[in-house]
Amino acid sequence: MSPHSQSSSATTQTPLLGLVALVIVLIVMATASWPAPTWAWVALAAAYVAIEVRWEEPAGAGWLVAPAVASALDPGGAMAALLVAIAVVAVIDNRRQHEAARLAVGRVVAHVPLVAVFLVGGGAVAGEPAWSVAVGGAVVGAVALGLALLVRRLIGQPRREEGYVRPLAESVVLGVIAALLGALAGSLGWLVAPIVTAGLIIVAAADASRRQAVSAREGAVDSLVLALELKDLYTRGHSERVAVYAGWLGAEMGLRGERLRKLRYAALLHDIGKLAVPRHLIRKPGSLTAEEFCRVQQHAVVVPEMLQPMTFLSDVVPAISEHHIHFDGSGYGRARYRGARTSLEARILAVADAFDAMTTHRPYRKALSVDYALTELERCAGSQFDPDVVTAFAPCIDGRSLPMPSDGFESDADARRVAERSVSHG
């Protein structure tokens, strides 16, 4: 679940994919007559897709539309320059933990070969009308995105974001910018090299900033989840499993895009209020006294105050606060409107949370079977749970590999050891 684990996996595979792309390009260069527009274009497209799929930083994948466009203009000269660009980016990619200034210098250095691409390739369309250059760039941008999505699907890699309109619009715009910059460089030569470099850096920054914003949010949620796990080591992994079940349910019930992403955040943080509950109550093996139960219930009420600084979670807080309010209005928590039905997200969380709670070890009992848990959900449909959500849940888990529940810890020392490992290795 951690974005860091995803990124480290991508880093591991990046050198291999980059190497494959380079080998393809070199084979084409060695076997095709020079210049070889068709083969060169295919090779460059392959290199672009490989980089687009795996290379996230530092320059951002969007700027690679530029060599794709330039290569369409004059593939022969563009190819050599792109090879240098790939090598430079590979070097920078292996130094992710560097300071901002070095990153900025790296970006500039990485774009020098790209400017050469523009200068070499742009000459082919230097005299073409601007509108035809722009249309050509738009087409190449759209095709490049399509190739990247196709390859992502073929290798089973999840897409960066939901929907098609926004990524397509961004890719088309990048293509238009790249093509016009190429034509400008082809017309005016080295005179405009600094301007073209600046333009490319701006475009690259826009592309990279999208992932930066997303990873900032994911990282913030991840930090809070770890804080919660430190407080309650015995329910370690619970948040992630509830997020998986809620994601399946949300998709099944028609949630998409940003709403699905926020449902995932809500699931990961649904117990964040436990930070305000004494540990001995969270883990108490026996039944709680009325006073203790009241204290535990506070965990759903303090959430708005606790998460108030996190503005990007403002839409998420109601679902967290309401997920212990039952379908029939009983239960506990903070409802936005007295007497109103809780949000769909809260009702989904209620089912996902209850299912995981039943199927994993708790301080006061062993894990129950999946069949028993489903029967129990159905029994409580209409009173505690939304019947529609319960109905949608069984098909969701049918045939799927359920997330592994955490082992029951024998002692605090065991739990601490596992959590220490988590902190050490991120």
Binding site: S2, P3, H4, A100, A104, R107, V108, A130, W131, V173, I177, L180, A183, L184, S187, L188, L191, P194, I195, A198, G199, I201, I202, V203, A205, A206, A208, S209, R210, Q212, A213, S215, A216, R217, G219, A220, D222, S223, L224, L226, A227, L230, K231, L275, A276, P278, R279, V302, E305, M306, L307, P309, M310, F312, D412, R416, A419, E420, V423, G426
Partner: protein, 227 residues
Amino acid sequence: MGEFDRGSVAPIADTLARDDWPVLVALPAVASLFVFAAPRFGWWAFALAGLVYVAGFVAFDRTRAAEQVHEELVTTLGRIPEVGGLAVAPGRSDRVSGLARKVADELDLKPRSVVEVAAAARCGVVGRLGYDVWPHLRLGYDDRAAARWSAGIVDRAPAVGRIPSIVGPSVPTDSDAAVMRSIVELVSAYDDAVHAGGLDPAAALEKVAETGRADVVAALATADAIG
């Protein structure tokens, strides 16, 4: 502070210290781009320069949004020990952060370092959540396990700069970060001594002075006196 007024140049220094300075530097290039493109493309030059400008604006906006998330996370992590019952009095994170900022100013740290040390002080004790029962708040910030937990939690978020190394258990090799770490340790222990230990400020300062760097202790004494 001397005769030179740092306040007048602080906005410029802050701007240059930003991670997204390439975007700021590159934006004027859009105008140059238009000047060069207009003779070649005519009205299409507007489209080219406009699109690049929008890309720059979007980059700036998103980068700012990411920074805001980071700031909000630090604030939230600072609150957690308070709502979790691990700090004796509400407002600890605000007090410690404000005092750390003053001490850093006294020591003439760079603007970026001042921001980082204030953030590190604010969220530096979130690792106390790792304890079953926080046994001795009076011990302040000298526990390695709590520091390790804190660094681990903060490190989960990208773009937090040097905060994990400042709040972590190992002394940073970067000398600047070592000073910042010393500030956070001292200010945190001082606040615990006053608000958890019940000592008066002078006694608390005398107590923490035994373990702190002399320059940081002196800056703390001045900053606290300024109040």
